[in-house]
Symmetry: C2
Subunit: 303 residues, 2 copies
């Protein structure tokens, strides 16, 4: 099986490519990104370029049996540059779908959507029937593509599925454009013994998944024989309070001198700290999984 | 107040322009369409061109206080030409929104969406909380723009609102591209004394609104001081069986020799004959109305 990963040099993309490389069914990987991955990966041909350009798109996906589309302008980066966000998140993504429809409509397209499609405040629990109401630009754009891809899938124009991961842990380094960056920084702060002040309360609840878990779910979505009839779904995730998360981090690093304080910022709490419980029947039925518990989340987030 | 109507030469557009012309608050109307309207209308400047082209768009909307956007590739026409449908329904509409955001973010943009955003079968009743699941291409594209416009409105990028009219009665002449055309033809068949075989059952239920009523609602959406916080809503409509509709048509034209027979076609019944009851709390709260009853619908559809 030949697969293409768009956004291959990113946090999730790197792991998806590595998982494909280790999978016996996958014979060839095209890894597309604007930046180089930096490390050679077995079976993998790197393509450095913009998937929004027709020539790059063609080289990237022609002949692939499945495409994982992770490239996106996210969160605060989209808010800061709406024109770029439209070009990448809408125009180029619709162009990709149209290209695949016209050249290889049997292609499995696994699209990375987001839990930012939901309205705030969220009902408790969130289920597959929870209505949408994105408040961030990229959430609205991801929802637009979900609508388009579900339509393509229902018509047989593409074998498409949209997956909504929760906060993916634990990205190394800081990315100021991502308002959610403090969550990943927390993991590394405790691991390295640094102090940190969190902009949420100990009781604030959020949805988390390790990068190991999320990559595994994207690989699964690529390889299972059939998705549908539901073709857009929230992936399973752990619903944890930050207090529970900090406790798990200290269990993992009992020697860490790191002191974690809470100084809740209302906007940040509203964005990332008021999540309810989560039911993911559609994703569960397809065999997608969450991290087993907070301790597993911590272990799988720092590998 | 200066208004622009995009899609001004169409069935609804012509009536919206006429209603604006008769309204004392409206001082200037720009009527934009690819085809000429054919009749001069007071206060109205006609602009023949494609709103997807930047120069036409600029001439059409710059300086307008409100824009009514009715131009679209609908129903079977979109299915037959998906490339054109994307260009008009998505790309050009997003370009219009972006142009208004950048030049005049206070502009009221009234966007014509569709009840084709709902999944079939529909729950009974349909309410403002009913989830979406379009099955036709233009329904998916209209929903994508609803999502984008609600996002623009929430940010103050535009003063936007999406309205979903039901089947608008009664378009004269036949348009083979519209699978719903038989409904309008029924009105004219009884009015003219022609026989007709309907592809639905007497018990089949649908949602209908007269062009008079729909134009009035679009004009209202343009002129009321404030819309929101809900910025996408289904307009009130009559939920009628075709048997009830035929009876009302015969009451209106008691001398008509027209014989109406029913020969249900499953696909047509599924598309247009299995509607439930309809509750439109959000639209009701803003003063939008339905036709009073079947007799009023008939009278207002043939004016």
């Amino acid at each position: 099986m030949k697969v293409a990963v768009i956004g291959a040099a990113g946090f999730v993309g790197t792991r998806v490519v590595a998982d494909f490389a280790a999978h016996p069914k996958v014979t060839e990987i095209r890894a597309i990104d604007r930046v180089a991955m930096g490390t050679a990966v077995p079976k993998t041909r790197e393509i450095v370029g913009d998937f929004g350009e027709a020539a790059t798109r063609k080289v990237a996906v022609d002949g692939a049996d499945a495409v994982v589309h992770l490239a996106s302008i996210l969160g605060g980066a989209a808010e800061a540059n709406p024109g770029l966000a439209r070009r990448v998140n809408i125009d180029a993504t619709l162009d990709l779908m149209e290209h695949l429809k016209q050249t290889a409509p049997a292609t499995r397209l696994v699209f990375a959507s987001t839990i930012a499609v939901y309205a705030k405040p969220m009902p408790d629990p969130v289920t597959d029937a929870t209505p949408f109401g994105p408040t961030m630009l990229y959430g609205a754009q991801k929802l637009m593509i979900e609508v388009a891809l579900s339509d393509y899938a229902a018509r047989g124009w593409l074998d498409g599925v949209s997956l909504r991961p929760s906060g993916v842990m634990a990205r190394e380094g800081t990315d100021a454009a991502l308002k959610s960056a403090f969550m990943s920084r927390l993991f590394w702060a405790v691991a390295r013994g640094d102090d940190m002040v969190l902009p949420v309360a100990a009781e604030s609840r959020t949805w988390l998944a390790s990068v190991t878990n999320v990559a595994r779910n994207f690989v699964r979505a690529t390889l299972i024989p059939k998705v549908g009839p539901i073709t857009a779904m929230t992936l399973p995730a752990l619903s944890l309070t930050f207090g529970e998360l900090v406790a798990a981090l200290h269990r993992r690093f009992p020697e860490s001198p790191s002191r974690i304080a809470f100084a809740p910022d209302p906007e940040t709490v509203g964005l990332f700290g008021e999540y309810p419980h989560l039911q993911t029947a559609a994703a569960d039925a397809l065999g997608f999984t969450r991290d087993h518990d907070a301790d597993a989340l911590v272990a799988q987030s720092l590998t």
